[in-house]
Symmetry: C2
DNA sequence: TTGCTCCTCACGTCACGTGAGGTGGC
DNA sequence: TTGCTCCTCACGTCACGTGAGGTGGC
């Protein structure tokens, strides 16, 4: 027995289209271009109705795979007339690497919007005027070289230098960029001139370590930290907190999500000493009476 | 110090384009559509040269991210004029799931062309006329229900039934489909009417198990196994091989990669008894004097 | 007969890409 | 001055999508 009875039953154009998950328009388009024609036309009378055979399913599926990996319909048309295993191997391996790259790229895009979404949710959950001690999970970042704002080199030059620097895992500028200060003293000294820049790229090799941070928020344009540094210092002094690590500045809300410059939202988090050394009442999750300004 | 000196240095359109990894054409397009305009025009004289500020890098990067996740330029234009964290969260989460689906889809496409490439490489490495015993690795497959060719139900009906069946992991018709026989006897009895169909989908829940197989090849259209079944039976008899499991038919070369029907290449692999029971000389990797027809 | 599907043909869409022909910048 | 970059404007591209207006199938 051979497969000669493959053309037992025909499907109308929409039936067939539904079957393979494309539109009838696409099938007509393929027919018009001479890339893929129905098994037969018309019925008894010679009309122009297109009828497709089930055996043609695999062929259309492959056409879809080819268009999906970026092969043009013209190329597919040529292949339809003359193809062989060598050609197909060539075509497949040529596009396989591009496809793998594209997948990695889209995974990056997914990661970027996840990161922004996280920051935005955080922005919506906070109480702006409140300064609190929070336990923060660790977060991978990509840390830049030390900045140098001495002499005539402006902020922009250093920012551009960060963007241009040959970081080991290449810097993806789509991720949010924050400011890093070696210590609270450095932050208090020049709150808008970070010691380093960092990117929130989760593929970064450095990390903002898990632990306790004194966290505060302020609204305003880039560089405008307002009275926040002073408030944080006062809060620390009053509550006998000891800063023991770096300070991270992250814009939870910036030009990506806000039109109004004055509504940008900066989060400052400064590493503080171990939990055992800090009075319980300062923890937000232990009480609602956390100190407010 | 504020970020007012962000516009210290300007970049020409191509410098800026190179920086963010897009074409100058795209930037002009964004400008013409009023989506993203250069920081300033012209220099001393009021010409139409576009000049971009480094601080604009993040903005274009986000425009690229948005277009990449499928947001139209019209929507981006509206967002450029009026956006807020709530809107952006909405937009991101709406497209995040679609993007994740697309990534999974493209991974499927990659897997499909990898599978075909594998088969094609195998096709190019074999000696057509040779029947050999091979140790084959296990391979995941998606096995269909038992076919029923009794009565008037034709081959196509059963094939379509396989394509339509509600397999647990939904059948992806882009993968090659093969024929499965419960035993060598079944294969010899009706070599072109498989007991079941199977798909080479690596996400399938069944598998062609690793082990020893008697493997043969034949060229011809679907269903045309020619003299191969007889040859394999004779070979087994002569060498006292014992069949102890299913037979798998896979087209290494079919309409996907060949124009000429007669050049389609079928691989038949039949499970045979354990290595210890088979004479060493039959193994291809132990000797070049493998039995030939 | 009725409603449904199918047909063709011309034009639209979307985000740019591609010259042609010209001018400004260094 | 020369070669380089930039400009505008109109049209092209690619794989369909979208009506309009009409006919065949059951």
């Amino acid at each position: 027995m051979s497969y000669n009875n493959l053309d037992d039953e025909y499907l109308s154009i929409t039936e067939f289209a539904d079957y393979v998950g494309i539109t009838p328009d696409s099938l007509r388009h393929y027919d018009n271009k001479g890339i893929f024609t129905p098994a037969k036309y018309g019925t008894e009378f010679r009309n122009k109705y297109r009828y497709y055979a089930p055996a043609q399913i695999m062929t259309v599926k492959m056409i879809r795979v080819l268009t999906e990996i970026g092969v043009s319909l013209d190329t597919i048309k040529k292949l339809a007339k003359d193809r062989n295993p060598e050609k197909i191997i060539q075509l497949f391996s040529k596009h396989r690497y591009r496809l793998a790259d594209e997948i990695r790229f889209l995974q990056g895009v997914h990661s970027v919007i996840s990161t922004y979404t996280e920051l935005l949710y955080e922005a919506m959950s906070i109480t702006e005027s409140e300064i609190t001690v929070l336990e923060m999970p660790d977060r991978r970042i990509l840390l830049g070289d030390k900045t140098d704002f001495s002499g005539q080199t402006g902020y922009v030059k250093e920012f551009v230098r960060f963007c241009d620097a040959p970081h080991k895992p290449k810097l993806n500028l789509s991720y949010p960029i924050g400011g890093y200060f070696e210590s609270m003293d450095e932050f208090l000294n020049e709150p808008s001139l970070p010691t380093r820049f960092f990117s929130l790229d989760p593929k970064g090799h450095e990390r903002r370590e898990a632990g306790l941070y004194l966290v505060g928020y302020t609204r305003g344009y880039y560089g405008d930290t307002g009275v926040l540094p002073g408030q944080m210092a006062a809060f620390a002094k009053k509550n006998k907190l000891i800063f023991d690590g770096p300070v991270y500045n992250i814009f939870l809300v910036d030009e990506i999500s806000e039109t109004d410059h004055e509504r940008y939202l900066l989060q400052v988090s400064a590493s503080v000493k171990d939990r055992r050394l800090i009075p319980r009442r300062l923890f937000r999750n232990n009480s609602n009476k956390a100190d407010k300004f």
